[in-house]
C-alpha cells in the first residue's frame, strides 16, 4: 500500500470511529464533550513544535512560535476547563436512576 493510501485509510477509519463514539450521548454532556473534543484538537501543538523546530528563517520561526503558544492555550486550557465542568458531575449516574424511579411513580 502506498503511503498516501495508508493515510487515506487511517482517515476514513477515524471518521467512522468518531461517528460511532459520540452517537448516543445525552444533552447533559454535550457541553463537556464539545469542550473535551476541543482540547483534543489542541494536539496541533505537535505539528506546531515540528514546524518551529525546522524553521530556517526568522519569519518561519516567528510564525511557528506563535502557533506553539496558541496550540498550547488550546490544549492545556481545554483540558483544564473540561475537568472543571466534569468535577460537578461526580456521583450523578447513581442518583439519576432514582429520578427515573420516582418519576415513574409520580405518573
Amino acid at each position: 500500500m502506498s503511503n498516501g493510501l495508508a493515510l487515506l485509510s487511517i482517515f476514513v477509519l477515524s471518521v467512522f470511529i468518531g461517528f460511532e463514539v459520540v452517537s448516543k450521548v445525552s444533552t447533559t454532556l454535550h457541553t463537556p464533550l464539545m469542550s473535551g473534543a476541543n482540547a483534543i484538537h489542541g494536539i496541533i501543538l505537535v505539528g506546531a513544535i515540528t514546524v518551529a523546530d525546522r524553521a530556517d528563517t526568522n519569519l518561519e520561526l516567528g510564525l511557528g512560535i506563535a502557533a506553539v503558544v496558541l496550540a498550547t492555550i488550546n490544549m492545556v486550557g481545554g483540558f483544564v476547563v473540561t475537568d472543571r465542568m466534569l468535577e460537578m458531575f461526580k456521583g450523578k449516574p447513581r442518583v439519576k436512576k432514582e429520578v427515573e424511579i420516582t418519576g415513574g411513580e409520580a405518573k
Binding site: 459520540v22 476547563v81 432514582e98 429520578v99
Partner: protein, 459 residues
C-alpha cells in the same frame, strides 16, 4: 528515537484520544475520559521532542512558547466563571484553528516546486479553514460575551458580499496552488479571515452554540489536514476524530434545539427583520410583590422552578436552592424543569446547578416535565425567557420557531422573575408575559429570591 518506537507510542496516544471521547459520552466515565485525553496529549507533546529528525535548533524558543501558553491557558480556564464558559470554549477553539493555520502557512513557505499537488491542496485547505475557524470563533466569543449585539447582523446585500468573499477565497486558493508565493497566501488568509467573520455575523444569539460546535469540527479537520502535510499519523487520527464527532455533536445539538443545521447557518440570508407586532400599543402586565409570590408558592401543592441564564448571571443558584428547601419542608412538591439548552449551551444549566449543589434528583428534563405542567400549581421562571416562549410554537418565521419549549403556559400560575421587560437572548417578545395568569416580579434574580424567601419565612 527509533521511528518504529515513535510510531507505536503515537498509536497509543491515538488510542487514548478514542477512549477519551468514548468516556466523555457517559456521565460515569466522563471525568476519567478527559484525564485520559490529557494524559495522551501530554505524552505526545513530550514525545515530539524525541522524534526522529528533530534539529533542536530552537528548543528554548519552543519551550518558552509552551510556558507562555500554559501561563495564559491555565489561569483562564481555572478562573473563568461557569456562566462564561461557553465563550471560553469558543476562544480556545479559535486559537486552535489559528495555530493550525499558522502551521500550514509555515509549511507552505517551505514547500518547494517538488511538492505534490495533494500536499499543496491540503496546506491550502488548512490555511483557509483554520482562518475561518479563528475569526468565526472570535465573533462567537464577542456575541456570547455580549460585547457585540447577539441579534443576527444582516446588512443589505449581505448574502452577495458573503458569496463574493467565498469566491474570492477560492479564486486566490487557485492562485496560491499554481504559483507558490508569499503575496498570494497572505491575500488568501485575509480573505478567509473575513469570510469567517461574515459567516458568523448573521447567526442569531440562540444559535451560536451550534456554530461553536461546527467550528470545533472544522478545526478538527484542519488538524487532520496538517497531519497529512506533516506526515504525522497522530494528527490525522486526532483531527479526524474531532471532525467526525464534532459533526455528529453539531447535529445532535441542532436537533435538541429543534433547528435544522442548514436553517441555522443560512436562515439569516433570507430572513427579514421581523416587523414589530402591535407597535405603539401599550400592553399591561401584572406585576406582584415578593409577598404575593410567597403566598402563591406557600399554598401550592406542586411548584416547578424553571432556571435560565439570568439565574446564573445573578449568582442566585444558592438562593433558589434555599427557597426550594424551604418549600419542600412545608410539604410542597418541588422540581426543576431543565430545558436542554437552558443557559447558553446544551447541558450548561445542569453544570451551573450542580455547582450550587442542587440535589440532582430534583432536576427533571424537558420531556419528562412537560406532561406534568397541567398538574402544577405554580411555575417559577427565574431569569429564563426563550425556553418558555410560546412563540416557538405559534409564530412561524420567528427565530426560535420549532424549538421545543417548556410548556409552562399549561400550569395554574406562572411567575416570572425578570430584570426588565427586555426580550431574551434570541431577541423575541414573549406573549406569556401578558397572560392574565402570569405575575411578574421585577429585579435582580438573587435580590428577588432573597425577598421571597424572607416573606415565606414570615408566613
Amino acid at each position: 528515537m527509533n521511528q518504529n518506537l515513535y510510531d507505536v507510542i503515537g498509536l497509543a496516544v491515538a488510542a487514548c484520544f478514542i477512549m477519551a471521547l468514548k468516556g466523555l459520552s457517559s456521565p460515569k466515565s466522563a471525568r476519567r475520559g478527559n484525564l485520559i485525553g490529557a494524559f495522551g496529549a501530554f505524552v505526545a507533546t513530550d514525545l515530539v521532542f524525541f522524534a526522529p529528525g528533530m534539529t533542536h535548533h530552537h528548543k528554548w524558543w519552543i519551550l518558552g512558547a509552551i510556558a507562555v501558553g500554559v501561563l495564559v491557558g491555565v489561569p483562564a480556564a481555572r478562573q473563568i466563571q461557569m456562566t462564561q464558559m461557553p465563550q471560553l470554549v469558543a476562544l480556545f477553539n479559535g486559537v486552535g484553528g489559528g495555530a493550525a493555520a499558522l502551521v500550514a502557512i509555515v509549511e507552505y513557505l517551505k514547500l518547494g516546486s517538488t511538492a505534490s499537488t495533494p500536499v499543496v491542496l491540503a496546506t491550502v485547505f488548512t490555511v483557509i479553514v483554520g482562518c475561518i475557524s479563528f475569526s468565526g470563533s472570535i465573533v462567537t466569543f464577542l456575541k456570547l460575551q455580549e460585547i457585540m449585539t447577539t441579534r443576527p447582523v444582516i446588512f443589505p446585500g449581505g448574502r452577495f458580499v458573503i458569496a463574493g468573499t467565498l469566491l474570492g477565497v477560492l479564486g486566490t486558493a487557485e492562485w496560491v496552488v499554481h504559483s507558490l508565493g508569499n503575496t498570494s497566501i497572505t491575500v488568501m488568509a485575509i480573505l478567509a479571515l473575513l469570510f469567517g467573520v461574515l459567516f458568523v455575523l448573521p447567526v442569531g444569539g440562540a444559535d451560536v452554540p451550534i456554530v461553536i460546535s461546527l467550528l470545533n469540527a472544522f478545526t478538527g479537520l484542519t488538524v487532520a489536514a496538517s497531519g497529512y502535510v506533516l506526515q504525522a499519523t497522530l494528527l490525522i487520527v486526532a483531527g479526524t476524530l474531532v471532525g467526525a464527532s464534532g459533526t455528529i455533536l453539531t447535529r445532535l445539538m441542532a436537533a435538541a434545539m429543534g433547528r435544522s443545521l442548514f436553517g441555522t447557518l443560512f436562515g439569516a440570508f433570507t430572513a427579514k427583520p421581523m416587523a414589530a407586532a402591535a407597535t405603539g400599543e401599550v400592553r399591561t402586565v401584572k406585576s406582584g410583590s415578593p409577598d404575593d409570590v410567597a403566598i402563591l408558592l406557600n399554598y401550592a401543592q406542586r411548584v416547578v422552578i424553571v432556571p435560565g441564564f439570568g439565574l446564573a448571571v445573578a449568582q442566585a443558584q444558592h438562593t433558589v436552592r434555599e427557597l426550594a428547601d424551604l418549600l419542600t419542608s412545608r410539604g410542597v412538591d418541588v422540581a426543576y424543569g431543565i430545558h436542554p439548552v437552558a443557559g447558553r449551551m446544551p447541558g450548561h444549566m445542569n453544570v451551573l446547578l450542580a455547582e450550587a449543589s442542587v440535589p440532582y434528583e430534583q432536576l427533571v428534563e424537558m420531556d419528562e416535565i412537560n406532561p406534568t405542567f397541567p398538574q402544577t400549581d405554580v411555575v417559577l421562571v427565574v431569569g429564563a425567557n426563550d425556553v418558555v416562549n410560546p412563540a416557538a410554537k405559534t409564530t412561524p418565521g420567528c427565530p426560535i420557531y420549532g424549538m421545543p419549549i417548556l410548556d409552562v403556559a399549561s400550569a395554574g400560575n406562572v411567575i416570572f422573575l425578570k430584570r426588565s421587560m427586555r426580550p431574551g437572548f434570541a431577541g423575541i417578545e414573549n406573549e406569556l408575559l401578558y397572560d392574565p395568569k402570569t405575575t411578574l416580579l421585577f429585579g435582580d434574580a438573587k435580590d428577588s429570591l432573597t425577598k421571597v424567601v424572607s416573606a415565606l419565612k414570615a408566613l
